[in-house]
Every structure is written in C-alpha cells, then in structure tokens.
C-alpha cells in the first residue's frame, strides 16, 4: 500500500463534567504521498479533533482515543508514547493552525521559533539553524528575511504571521502537513496569497496535506480528494470531482447549495436548516437525519453503511439503498463561479 497515513475506525471521546462527548465516531481515512486531502464540515463535526488525534495532541484528560488506529507508514501512532510522538511531531507530521495571531509565542523571536524544531529534529547547530530559518522565511515569501528573523511576532501582520507559522511547520520537511483552517482568520485577499503559497510549496516539497476547512472555495482550490464530516462521522468521501459534481449525500448537497455563487439565479443564500447534533447524546441513526429533507424512518433508526460508488467514492446514506425512493439532487448545488 502506498498510503502514507491510514486512519481506521477512529473514535475520540471527551469526558466533560459528566457528559461524554463522542467527537469522532468511527472515521476511516487514508492519505497518499504528496496529495491533498480536504476534510470539510461545519464546526463541531469532528474534523479538528481528527487532525489533533493524528498529531497526538488531544488533551488528556478530558479527551481520549477510545478505539481505532492511526497508521503512519505502517506504525500505529495511537499506541505511541509521548516521547515517541515527539519524534513524529514537527519532523514527520506538522501542523498549521487557524489563528496566526495567537499561534506564535509573543515573547520569542520569530527566528528562534523556527529554529527550535530544526535544532531538536535535525540536530543542527544554532548558526546552521538560523541560516535555514532565514531560508525558510524567504521560501514562504517574507521580504528581508535576514532582518525579520530577529523580530517578534507582533511586528508581523496577520498574513505574514501565517507565513511564519507555515515556515515553522515546514522547517523539517515533514511528510504530512495538517492545515487546520489555515485561512479562516485572514482577509480574503491574504487568503488567496496563503493558498497560492501552500500550493506552490507543495509542488516544491512534495508534502502531503490534510486540509481542514469549512470553506468549499478553499477545497476547490487546493484539494485532490475530499472527506465530508458530519456529527463526528465521515458521511461521504471521494475525489474533488466526485464530491463537487456527483455528490450523493444530502449533507454534501446542502454544503454545496449553501456556497454563494456568482451567477446564481436567486439572490438568496441557501442554508441548511437546523443545527448539528448534540454529540454528548448522539442519535442512533444518521446524525444528519433531523435536518435532512429526504429523511426516511430508517434514517433515525440505524446508521447507514457505506455504499462504494467507485474506487474512490463512498457514501453513507440510506438513499443509496435499493429499497429507497429515487431522489434527484437539487439544482442549486452547481459549483461556485461557473
């Protein structure tokens, strides 16, 4: 198998004040070398928790991985000790966070924050690490890197800080880069710059990217494959083309419909009515059933199994059962900007 990363039936639970929140319920995913996998879903769907689980950064307590495997190059990271994980983090798998304003240590020079990983993982000397830090800053498009390497985070703008965060993440040439909403906190124009940068860097370094986002525009821009999460479950996954043009899950339809379009016939934004399920008491059927316009009795009773629509696309929905009535996806799901 050429899978760099394979997640098998991952379950994550948070034990909060008596309530047990099942944040991730039986998610299976895989990631190939050099590809970009997007995980989309609204807030609370479990996408960020999944990414934190890969990094081994789920705070315990209150969080714990109750079952499942996270195979990185064949090794199960779930059973790695903290010490072993420290050798993976930053070196093999690294992460970019949502808010660049808070992701950097305010009292440490930017250069030093980049150098830390280099000194730890590549056993570089301070001078070499500094040289490499300057190089990295140049790589992520920060002007005058030899000056800025000695500056503090607050001297950088939001977009520039995100570039620094990316430089930190890429410092040791990781095999996987997890980007958790990397552009959400940024201005639209800066967003485009950061996405361009990520695409360019991926071309140069061949790093595989797991992109966590709720923004389908970003997905269309960057990803080759997409996983759609809802209520802690992976409800549909497929290639970018499959998800955007032949989606089968009503939630994916809803997501696509709710994307604002340039040449839309109506000026109304379509929203999915309702709110995500309470994961401290997960529904026994499909989590989307209460909000699904096509819901059937069976949906509230039992979680559907995956239907394999192609080598790459699988969907968990009762509508794909032979016994279910035929349902056509709504017309509103056309891809943005057509």
């Amino acid at each position: 198998m050429d899978n760099l990363l394979e997640i098998k039936d991952l379950n994550v639970r948070f034990n909060l004040f008596g309530a047990k929140v099942q944040a991730v319920r039986g998610v299976s995913l895989h990631l190939k070398k050099g590809e970009t996998l997007a995980i989309v879903g609204e807030s609370g769907s479990g996408k960020s928790v999944t990414s934190k689980a890969i990094m081994g950064l789920i705070p315990n307590p209150p969080g714990e991985i109750t079952s499942g495997e996270i195979l990185f190059e064949g090794h199960d990271l779930v059973h790695y000790s903290n010490k072993q994980m420290q050798k993976i983090r930053g070196k093999e798998i690294s992460m970019i966070f949502q808010d660049p304003m808070t992701a950097l240590n305010p009292t440490m020079k930017v250069g030093k924050q980049i150098m830390e990983g280099l000194i730890k993982h590549q056993k570089m000397s301070r001078q070499d690490a500094k040289k490499r830090a300057i190089e990295l800053l140049r790589l992520v498009g920060i002007p005058k890197p030899e000056v800025r390497v000695n500056e503090y985070p607050h001297q950088f703008s939001g977009g520039m800080r995100q570039r620094v965060v990316i430089a930190i993440a890429l410092a040791c040439n990781p095999k996987i880069l997890i980007a958790d909403e990397p552009t959400t906190a940024l201005d639209v124009t800066i967003q485009a710059q950061i996405l361009d940068l990520m695409r360019e860097l991926q071309k140069k370094t061949g790093t595989a990217i797991i992109l966590i986002t709720h923004d389908l525009g970003v997905v269309a821009n960057l990803a080759q494959r997409v996983g759609v999460m809802y209520g802690g479950k992976l409800v549909e996954t497929g290639t970018l083309e499959e998800i955007f043009y032949r989606p089968k899950h009503p939630y994916t339809w809803g997501l696509l419909s709710s994307m604002p379009k340039l040449h839309a016939k109506t000026d109304k934004l379509l929203a999915i009515p309702g709110s995500p399920p309470d994961l401290s008491d997960p529904p026994k059927g499909c989590p989307f059933a209460p909000r699904c316009p096509y819901a059937m009795k069976v949906c509230t009773e039992q979680m559907p199994e995956y239907t394999y629509l192609s080598d790459t696309q699988r969907t968990a929905c009762w509508l794909l059962d032979k016994r279910a009535p035929k349902v056509e996806p709504p017309e509103t799901i056309g891809v943005g900007g057509e």
Binding site: L57, R89, T102, P106, I168, A169
Partner: protein
C-alpha cells in the same frame, strides 16, 4: 523609550512632592503645637523652640523652609530623643528594615513562583488544590498573626530561634518567614493563574506540534510568558511587606524603621512619624517606577511600541 522614562520620572517627582506637601499640611493641622507633649517646657523655652523651628513665621514661609530643609535631608528633630535629627535615626535604621524586607520578598517570590508553576501545571489535582488552599490562608491571615504563631511555636515553645532581636542569621528566620508567607501566597496564586492562562494559549500547541519535549514547552514557552505579568504584583507586594514589617519588627523587637515608627506613634513623635511616612512613600513610588520601566524592558510587545511612540 527615553521620553517614556523621563515622563515617568516627572510623574514620580510630582507624586512625591504631593506627599511631602501633604505631610507638611498634616503637621500644621495637628491639634495644638508639635510641642504639646513637651508640657514641662517653660513658655520661654517654648518660644525659643518655636523660633528655632520657624514656627512663629507665616505658614507659606514655613512651607518654603520645610521644602528647603527637606531637599537638604533635614527632616527635623525627634521629640522622643531630645531633638536629635530624624534623618540620622532613619539612616541608621533603614538598612535593617530593607534587609528584612528584601529577604522576605526574595524568599517569598521565588517559592511563590515555584509553587504557582507546579500548581498551574498540575491544575485540578491534589497539588494544585493544596497550594491554593495554602494560598488563601496565606493571603487572608495578617502577618502579625503569623509572627505571633511562629514566635510562640519556634521561639517560646520549642526554642529553635531567638524570641527577639536582630543579630545573626538565626534571628532573621522567624521575622522574615512571617513576612514572606503573605508574599509567597500572593505570588503563588498569581503565578498559577498566569500559568493556566498561558498553557491554554495556541502557541503552546504550536510548540507541542513542533515536537518539543514537555519540559521544553513548559520552560521555554510557558514559564517565560507567565513570569512577565508577575512584575506587576511587585508594587502591591512592596506595600504589603512595608505594612507587615511595621508590626513584625515590633513583635520581634527589630531595630528597623518599622518598630521605630510604631514607637513614635505611641509617643506622638510627629517629626519622626512624618519622616518615616516620607521614606515609605518614597520607597513605594520608586518601586512603582522601577516596575513600570522593568515591564517595558522585559515584554517585547511593550518595549517596541514604547520605542515607536517616542
């Protein structure tokens, strides 16, 4: 930065000027003459004294005199010690108080920081709970109670340390400890809050995501950021230690300005009271000034923005 410092120096001088003016005014407002207690003086002697101190002159003139003398380090004569200069007493006794205060501050702050860090890391566990319980007790109970308990337990009951006095390191232990407990409690509590706050920050996750060891994350990233705000409590701490030292010196009969101050209150030695008050005020104002500057130097965010505005 330079302009900022100059501005702070200006503020400091103004505040201090207000203090000495206020002490002057309260001297004038005191019931009767300052020599009221010296009843045995003949009217002639009284007049001599009044003339000697310029008390027969109009108040504005006296005020100028007072300021002039103050600038020259003359704080008047002590009533209880036959008009010997107050300045001399203060100079003699101040180092003792300073020593006691500094010992208590250093011991309390260092232990407090350590306890706070530990409590912050092991939040919501027994260690945290214990530290915080101790801290509430330490903050609540006045130092004169601690002084009494320590004196009774370790000097009267079990004779480990001298009951009173200020000679040799053994005599420092009890008074410095009774002052340090409050400092320790306050610092521990503050440090814990800061640690918890900092450990919840995103940049801690960034540091972990780099693959740093837990100790590197705590020491390099968390503690440094948590330590910076500690500087802000130095001001209130100084005030607390000064207040505490008044009573602790008295209880342990330590020859510092604190016990002197209490003596002069009992004997209505006004010049001594005023002089000591001015020393305390001066110390407090200088501490606040140093804290302000220090904060600017240590926190890069303030350091640079201060530089840009000047």
């Amino acid at each position: 930065m330079v302009r900022y410092i100059l501005k702070r120096v200006g503020y400091m001088l103004v505040t201090f000027y207000v203090v000495i003016t206020l002490t002057f005014l309260s001297m004038k407002l005191l019931p009767g003459t300052p020599f009221k207690t010296a009843n045995r003086l003949t009217p002639q002697q009284l007049n001599q004294l009044r003339h000697y101190y310029g008390l027969d002159q109009p108040i504005p003139v006296q005020y100028v005199h007072y300021l002039w003398n103050f600038i020259h380090g003359d704080l008047g004569g002590s009533f209880q010690y036959g008009m010997q200069p107050v300045t001399q007493f203060l100079l003699q006794r101040f180092p003792v108080s300073l020593e006691l205060g500094v010992e208590a501050m250093i011991a309390g702050t260092i232990l407090g920081i350590l306890l706070g860090i530990v409590a912050g890391i092991y939040r919501a566990r027994f260690l945290d709970w214990g530290t915080m319980t101790f801290s509430v007790i330490g903050i609540s109970i006045p130092s004169f109670i601690f002084a009494g308990i320590l004196q009774y337990a370790f000097a009267v009951n079990v004779q480990l340390f001298p009951v009173a006095g200020w000679s040799g390191p053994m005599s420092h232990v009890l008074p410095a400890t009774s002052l340090a407990i409050g400092v320790l409690a306050l610092v521990a509590r503050f440090m814990r809050t800061e640690m918890v706050e900092v450990l919840n920050q995103d940049y801690i996750v960034t540091a972990q995501a780099k693959g740093l060891t837990t100790s590197a994350v705590v020491f390099r990233h968390a503690i440094r950021n948590a330590l910076i705000p500690i500087i802000t409590v130095i001001g209130p701490l100084t005030a607390a230690v000064v207040t505490g030292s008044l009573v602790v010196e008295n209880i342990f009969a330590i020859p510092g300005i604190g016990s002197q101050f209490v003596d002069s209150i009992v004997t209505n030695d006004y010049p001594m009271i005023m002089g000591t008050t001015e020393v305390y005020a001066g110390m407090f104002i200088i501490t606040i000034f140093i804290v302000d500057i220090l904060y600017g130097v240590i926190d890069p965010r303030i350091r640079v923005s201060g530089g840009q505005t000047s």
